[in-house]
């Protein structure tokens, strides 16, 4: 599935998030794991929110989880989304208590609780959007 342009893109040069965005370009979901307490964390941050240790290593994380809830935008609620509606957004609960919001690939969201997997949608040469679809799809 391709993705329409015109998205308000994140700041790809922000050093805190840059490794994550770069990982998506290669079809990988990268998150940080604390080298002191071992906790995986989301979103990226300078320190571990559990033990306050600086840094952490970037690890490949399984792009898989359960759909917690979903909705469909039928109206563009902000500039930049006119060409996108209708589109669906969901909250996915991954392993290790990581929760991610993301675009869903279908405008007919599957039921809450469905096991979802990541789909890496290439928006431009330097940006890939992580979207979610049911594993069986």
């Amino acid at each position: 599935m391709s993705h329409p342009g015109g998205l308000p893109l994140p700041d790809l040069s922000d050093p805190i998030n840059a490794p994550h965005w770069e990982g998506l370009n290669h079809g990988r979901l990268l998150v940080q794991r604390c080298l002191e307490c071992g906790r995986a964390r989301w979103r990226p941050a300078e320190i571990c929110p559990t033990c306050w240790t600086p840094g952490g290593e970037w690890i490949d994380f399984p792009a898989r989880g359960q759909l917690y809830s979903a909705t469909v935008y039928r109206r563009a609620m902000a500039p930049g989304f006119k060409d996108h509606v209708p589109y669906a957004v969901g909250l996915v609960e991954l392993a290790e208590e990581i929760r991610m919001v993301g675009r869903l690939t279908s405008t007919e969201p599957p039921p809450v609780g469905t096991t979802m997997t990541g789909a890496f949608l290439h928006v431009s040469a330097d940006f890939t959007l992580l979207a979610w679809r049911p594993v069986a799809e």
Binding site: S69, V72, Y73, M77, A78, F81, L91, E97, R99, V101
Partner: protein, 383 residues
């Protein structure tokens, strides 16, 4: 019950002022705030020289509304002043109550003025942190997370969009009796269901319309309030809770931490849900009303949809809610107008929407998915 809410220094509301709401073109936010202050002082029978405390709040994502700007504009040199970044009525009220209890000031005016509609402030932004990740996913505007929250609730408890619609329908019935309200034309449940869906299942009436307006309160001690113009309205309890870690909290869309606000609120006032005569819920979206009804114990968890659809919150219902019409029908004022309406209900000044014998009101407010606050107000000296 907390000692803060007893005795001669008990924080007491002596005045309330509200400007016209809607569109106030040509007026700056600070000018609107001062207009509200003037109305509140007049209501209390006080002069500017009687004020020794000032609490203001900034407009959303701007530096407009600081104590420095407003005191300069109003020519005030208060003993104590402060500015809140996000001063929903309750958060400002709590700070003022603390300042009075601590003896920093005797008579504080707290205010909010905004020209956010005329100034075309953008509200289609993500809420609650992680803006880059939310925006790129399209989770923009408070409607998005509110819809996710509703759909989770619907999955767990079977809540329907028709039940949700009754929140807006009931509040419009109240608004029809409120001259201050922007939306006063009755809305039937069929009208509601025939409106286009914006963010499933939310429709236009489920969301606050951005508006201009001002509101101010005068807070003083119980001792001083006794000698002023209006019936004293006492602060009988207050509580707050944050969830500043945002969406990394489990179930944060459902905001379960509001139950902690409720638990401490009831403990601080020594009352419970059955004692409440009129309830106010700050309603950026209609979904907030369902959540607050449940977490504050006005109905069981999962039962708010049926509770509202059964008419409990409508005029004549068992629990009048947002008798001003709420933000959904009256105006978008961060809960300030809910406080103002509560004070007017307690004083018996609410006209045709007056709830007979109202003696205890509760105000529940929240800063989206990050903070909650609530207060108990009463005319009962012994509470």
């Amino acid at each position: 019950m907390s000692e803060l809410f007893r005795g001669a220094r008990r924080p007491t509301i002596a005045g309330v002022g509200t400007t016209a709401q809607g569109e106030l073109p040509g007026q700056g936010a600070n000018q609107i705030a001062v207009a509200a202050i003037k109305l509140a002082l007049h209501d209390a029978g006080l002069r500017p020289a009687d004020i020794d405390g000032l609490i203001t709040c900034k407009n959303l994502r701007s530096n407009i509304g600081t104590d420095e700007q407003i005191a300069m504009l109003a020519g005030l040199n208060p003993k104590y002043s402060a500015t809140l970044d996000y001063g929903t009525g309750n958060f400002s009220l709590h700070l003022a109550a603390m300042a009075i209890a601590a003896g920093l000031a005797e008579t504080i005016v707290l205010c909010y003025g905004t020209n956010q509609r005329s100034a075309r402030k953008p509200f289609g932004t993500p809420v609650g942190g992680g803006a880059d990740f939310q925006r790129v996913s399209g989770l923009v505007h408070v409607a998005g997370p509110a819809a996710l929250a509703f759909n989770r609730h619907s999955h767990l408890y079977g809540t329907t969009s028709e039940q949700l619609g009754w929140v807006s329908v009931a509040q419009r019935e109240w608004a029809a009796m409120n001259p201050l309200a922007i939306f006063r034309d009755l809305l039937t449940i069929d009208d509601y269901l025939n409106m286009p869906i914006w963010v499933e299942p939310l429709r236009r009436p489920d969301l606050t319309m951005i508006s201009d307006g001002g509101a101010a309160l005068v807070l003083t001690t119980a001792e001083r309030a006794k000698h002023l113009a209006k019936t004293p309205v006492y602060v009988a309890g207050m509580a707050e809770q944050t969830a500043l870690r945002g969406d990394q909290n489990a179930d944060n869309l459902l905001r379960p931490w509001l139950a902690q606000v409720a638990q401490r609120l009831w403990a601080s006032a020594g009352i419970g849900p059955p004692d409440v005569d009129v309830l106010f819920i700050q309603d950026a979206t209609s979904v907030w009303v369902l959540q607050m009804l449940e977490w504050f114990g006005f109905c069981g968890i999962g039962e708010s949809g049926a509770f509202v659809a059964d008419g409990n919150t409508r005029p004549g219902g068992s629990l009048p809610v947002n008798t001003n019409g709420g933000q959904l029908s009256e105006a978008y004022m961060w809960g300030w107008l809910h406080l103002a309406e509560g004070i007017r209900q307690l004083r018996g000044e609410a006209g045709s929407r007056q709830v007979e014998g109202a003696q205890i009101t509760v105000d529940c407010s929240s800063h989206d998915f990050l903070k909650g606050a609530a207060s108990v107000l009463t005319t009962l000296e012994q509470l």
